[in-house]
């Protein structure tokens, strides 16, 4: 009886399916999670940046669509002084903020907005500094607070940023999401009404889309910004459909309920490729997944042991089972697409004999027992930490290392690895700005031990000097040389077993045009439009 009912209903539903093709002025993006904030200054996660910095805001300089090259945006030009410590930016005069039912701008974007946006993050006594928690994680972790000495307004559309020391990646840092420019006029209006925190929940920016509505865990709606300074986007309505479940997102894409999937699950790719209505594009990812050895603990303080484990891990089998062959085995901490990648370095090949021999040399002929911590969440650089852990466990058993698998919830995991409580732990990194500094310094220098990101607790004086020197150097040739040397040291010392650089896949509707894979993980929606295949 139940089944009869189901069949009746199904019949009704099938009948209604026909002819329900979607309206074409609406673009739906399948987002992997709810944005934690609509202010990119406060956020650290991809879903928040996709929902804020990319559609709603602009920065002084930006990355060219699909590249890591810097192009002018809100700043139309800039000068850098001889000593590389004074940056003068000339701002565009024709940039308009969004007009919505909660805010109507009376003036164009100017120097005040830029100063407001930076000082809110830098100045502890700024009236907006403590709004919405007052945590500017990116600004802090990039060391911008100490790096920027002052920001001065020269005239309405000129500002000067004075640094405390030369910093090679500074311009690239300004193109990152946290450096988005907010409206001071809007902030002042809210302050007058004592509704400060609204600025982060009902955002006003200069970007191609303006915010309309948000329902947590469900949907974000945007409309096009008619007065956008690069011209109104072709897409008039944009919707983020939020789903944390990868197979659900795939199904939505296939059903035509969404048009773009930025993190399709590896196991669903074949199915999407098979669909005639959809296309899949790929590019090497700007990321690295690795197994870190805690060099402050025995026996991992011995580099022979670390090398032995590097030889014992069968990376090719992980490529197949964990990444479904959608990744390249990693050799260096740096992804091969970033400049200064050292191609000369030969990987530790999978060789159990060699591994056993190294263990013997290290005085651990009979092996030992150790903990291996597995990544509790799915990340592009490691889609399934638990499974990978089980495979590593089996591999290491072959050279006599008895591994106990351990994991915690994500926050505890991060906390404990930062404190160095692990023996071995899986982790990874996705690039923020395409600079080698963003990998080699942030993850492996002695300074990064205190900051926590160097979970190997590996402090190699020579290595650290090299990457610090490269940081203040502006000549790219010299920097490349320094970084290549650093990678050689990394390889010999082996504080990690680098596992993989995962390929990035994007799946989308066949009719969606103008999309380019962004090497940095944030999506750009402005160039998108619907149309027939052009060729």
């Amino acid at each position: 009886m139940k089944y009869i009912l189901i069949i009746c209903l199904s019949a009704f539903l099938i009948q209604c399916t026909s002819g329900s093709k979607a309206p074409t002025d609406t673009f739906v993006f399948c987002s992997v999670g709810s944005p934690s904030s609509f202010n990119p200054q406060l956020a650290t996660d991809g879903p928040s940046f996709n929902a804020s910095s990319s559609p709603i805001y602009n920065r002084l300089v930006e990355f060219e669509h699909g590249k890591t090259k810097l192009i002018p945006a809100l700043a139309e030009s800039w000068d850098i002084s001889e000593d590389a410590m004074t940056y003068t930016f000339r701002l565009r005069e024709d940039v308009k903020f969004h007009t919505t039912d909660y805010f109507t701008p009376t003036r164009n974007m100017n120097a005040d907005d830029v100063i407001f946006s930076f000082m809110r993050q830098k100045d502890n006594s700024h009236p907006y500094h403590n709004v919405s928690g007052g945590l500017y994680k990116y600004f802090e972790s990039m060391g911008m607070g100490e790096l920027i000495d002052s920001i001065k307004k020269i005239d309405e559309h000129t500002i000067v940023i004075q640094l405390t020391r030369p910093e090679a990646p500074f311009l690239a840092n300004l193109a990152m999401d946290y450096a988005s420019i907010l409206s001071k006029e809007y902030a002042d209006q809210l302050a007058a009404k004592d509704q400060h925190q609204q600025i982060d929940q009902q955002p006003i920016g200069t970007g191609p889309f303006q915010f309309k509505k948000y329902m947590k865990d469900s949907i974000v709606r945007f409309e096009s910004h008619p007065a956008y300074f690069k011209g109104e986007p072709k897409i008039k309505k944009m919707v983020f459909s939020i789903n944390t479940d990868a197979s659900v997102r795939t199904q939505k894409l296939l059903n035509g309920e969404c048009h773009l999937l930025n993190e399709p699950a590896p196991q669903d790719l074949e199915k999407i490729k098979a669909s005639k209505q959809h296309k899949v594009i790929s590019a090497p990812g700007l990321n690295v997944g690795y197994l870190a050895f805690n060099t402050s603990k025995k026996p991992f303080d011995n580099k022979l042991v670390r090398q032995a484990i590097n030889h014992a891990l069968n990376k090719d089998s992980y490529m197949e089972a964990i990444y479904l062959n959608h990744a390249t085995p990693a050799v260096n901490p740096l992804p091969p697409t970033i400049w200064s990648y050292n191609k000369q370095i030969q990987p530790y090949e999978y060789n159990l004999e060699k591994a056993k021999q190294l263990l013997k040399q290290a005085g651990h002929e009979k092996g030992f027992e150790a903990e291996l911590w597995t990544l509790p969440v799915s990340r592009p650089y490691n889609p399934n930490g638990k499974k990978m852990g089980e495979m590593m466990q089996a591999d290491l058993a072959k050279i006599g290392i008895k591994v106990k698998l351990i994991t915690y919830d994500w926050s505890t995991y991060l906390d404990k690895t930062r404190k160095g409580e692990h023996d071995m732990a899986q982790l990874g990194w996705s690039g923020d700005n395409g600079d080698p500094d963003n990998f080699l310094n942030i993850l492996l220098s002695c300074e990064a031990i205190e900051g926590g990101n160097n979970i190997s607790k590996w402090c190699h004086k020579k290595y650290s000097q090299l990457v610090q020197k490269a940081r203040t150097e502006t000549d790219i040739e010299t920097r490349t040389k320094l970084y290549k040397q650093a990678q050689e040291i990394f390889h010999k010392e082996a504080p990690w077993a680098p596992i993989a650089h995962a390929t990035v896949f994007k799946a989308m509707d066949k009719d969606l045009q103008g999309y380019k894979i962004n090497p940095l993980s944030v999506e750009q929606f402005y160039p998108l439009f619907f149309g027939e295949e052009s060729q």
Partner: protein, 335 residues
């Protein structure tokens, strides 16, 4: 009547107090730091950590925290979500209609189908069809619904492609919230028929999944209580007068058989909310079940505390309403 209701509410206060204490204590004992969860992958320095802890009120001794919490509760202030920075009440109220709509739909399916199955089984007692129906009812009653949902998705969404896999509404359409029930609100949208159809299609699988266990329970109960009633004298008399069995059942037996079913309806609603947590997780249904599960996973203290108290309150109110209904339907108890 209202007085009685009020009295009942008053008598439930200690339990509700107990529930809030339970929620408060258990969560405080949990390992895992909510502040660290918030800070995420990029970390932060100890100063910021302290500042944040302070702003969340987690730096005070526990008993102080409890009195602050209780005081706020008295003023109907359930606190603010750590993650969304919105008040727990507004988060709750924006999700509650989704759960309500799904539950009502499920109850309707469960009652209608369950009654029919039960009546048919009773009429054919001992026959083959009775055995089949009652075996399937027991299967339904034993169903791990988190698996059942996946199987239905596999069949109807993946294989036939006739139902959506998740959510309440396709992102392509906009529903203006009037009642919060999409089946009703869809008629106020730009494209009523299509949006209604969408709403219905999104609802059908989760509603069936959620209805499965209560449906099986109702079928079993209808059968047994109907068999009891059919033995009674007045039914025999009616039958002996030559009235058709369909008439007898619909006129006399069913009404009396419905009583025990009504009694368990309240309990059933509790079961339904249990099911809702699992069903909403599988179908990404934006209701309170998924909300509270997410909060547990993210260690969003205020949401867990508030959510648990609110859910206890809903179950209590619904149980009382069912009691009330029982008295209305059954005049003998009206004294």
């Amino acid at each position: 009547m209202i007085l009685k209701f009020g009295k009942k509410l008053f008598s439930a206060l200690p339990t509700l107090f107990g529930v809030s204490l339970f929620a408060f204590l258990l969560i405080r004992l949990a390992p895992g730091d909510p502040v660290l969860t918030l800070l995420g992958e990029r970390g932060a320095d100890p100063e910021v950590y302290q500042q944040m802890k302070q702003s969340l009120g987690l730096d005070k001794p526990m008993y102080q925290q409890f009195f602050i919490y209780l005081g706020d509760l008295m003023q109907l202030d359930l606190g603010t979500s750590i993650h969304s920075k919105q008040s727990v009440w507004s988060e709750f109220i924006s999700r509650f209609p989704a759960t309500m709509e799904l539950s009502i739909m499920a109850i309707i399916i469960a009652i209608i189908v369950g009654l029919i199955l039960g009546v048919v089984a009773a009429l054919y007692k001992g026959k083959f069809i009775d055995t089949i129906l009652m075996s399937s009812a027991l299967v339904g009653y034993s169903m791990p619904i988190f698996w059942w949902g996946l199987v239905l998705i596999l069949i109807f969404s993946s294989h036939f492609g006739i139902t959506p896999v998740a959510g309440r509404m396709s992102a392509l359409y906009e529903v203006n919230t009037v009642t919060g029930f999409y089946l009703i609100d869809s008629w106020f949208s730009d494209n009523p028929v299509r949006v209604f159809n969408q709403a219905l299609r999104h609802m059908i699988l989760p509603a069936i999944v959620l209805a499965t266990i209560p449906m099986a329970a109702i079928a079993r109960m209808t059968r047994s209580s109907l068999l009891d009633v059919l033995k009674e004298d007045y039914i025999r008399t009616a039958k002996s007068k030559g009235l058709s069995s369909v008439y007898v059942i619909s006129k006399h037996a069913l009404r009396n058989a419905f009583m025990p079913i009504l009694t368990v309806m309240g309990v059933m609603f509790g079961t339904l909310l249990t099911g809702a947590i699992l069903t909403e997780t599988i179908f990404s249904w934006p209701g309170i079940g998924k909300w509270i599960l997410n909060a547990v996973q993210a260690r969003d203290y205020p949401v867990i505390q508030g959510g648990v108290v609110l859910i206890a309150l809903i179950i209590f109110v619904i149980n009382s309403l069912v009691d009330f209904l029982y008295i209305v339907v059954n005049p003998r108890l009206r004294k």
